[in-house]
């Protein structure tokens, strides 16, 4: 059964969607790349960002990392600190 995950948005991702978090439907076995596919389907404006990484529980995540309900998920646009 699909369930929805809350995804945090920052910087340009927040500006393009007008939201600081979005709810994304995920299959139970979904991994990071599935999340990105779904996010881009729901919010095609995000395709305008040069690159998008995903952080899970405050750590950069690989494309094949599985996601669970308890995870804190965030989209990471290209960083520009300093």
């Amino acid at each position: 059964m699909n369930s929805s995950a809350n995804v945090l948005l920052f910087g340009i991702a927040r500006d393009l969607t007008g939201q600081s978090s979005i709810s994304v439907l995920l299959a139970p076995s979904a991994c990071v790349s599935d999340l990105l596919t779904t996010v881009h389907e729901q919010y095609p404006a995000l395709l305008g960002i040069r690159s998008l990484l995903v952080a899970v529980n405050g750590e950069y995540a690989e494309a094949d990392q599985p996601l669970t309900h308890q995870d804190e998920i965030a989209l990471i646009p290209p960083v520009s600190g300093g």
Partner: protein, 136 residues
């Protein structure tokens, strides 16, 4: 010490924190808001951070610097929020026994911060705004 702050960065307290009787060298790097980017006139910057992850990524960078160089003290402070021209966006301070280590570690830390730490900078020009690095 690793910190995010929306208040102005206090250089004097950072230096006090780096005091060590074994330190012979302190290198302090300040990243400052300048008035132009590619000759476009900057009015101000807005910095936004994914706080918990920014702090943990900065901690990883400092841990990794400590493995490469014998650091006696290390301070990393990054501003968030609105910054005007001339304000300090980031301070990196490193204390070591010898100067080569201080320069190298300080540069490594700022270079790596710019690559991995989830902080985003929006440049607000007199005629528009742009999230830096965000566009293809």
């Amino acid at each position: 010490m690793i910190a995010l702050t929306s208040d102005p960065i206090d250089v004097t307290s950072a230096l006090n924190y780096l005091q060590s009787s074994q330190a012979g060298a302190v290198d302090l790097f300040l990243g400052v808001v300048r008035d132009n980017t590619q000759s476009r006139s900057v009015d101000r910057l807005e910095y936004e951070a994914y706080d918990r992850m920014a702090l943990s990524e900065m901690q990883k960078i400092v841990d990794s610097a400590r493995q490469c160089w014998p650091l006696l003290g290390c301070v990393v402070i990054h501003r968030t929020g609105t910054l005007l021209i001339g304000e300090t966006a980031v301070l990196i301070g490193v204390a070591t026994a010898h100067r080569a280590d201080a320069f190298e570690a300080c540069r490594y830390i700022i270079d790596t911060i710019k690559q991995t730490v989830p902080i985003w900078k929006k440049e607000i020009f007199t005629d528009g705004e742009v999230w830096v690095n965000a566009h293809p």
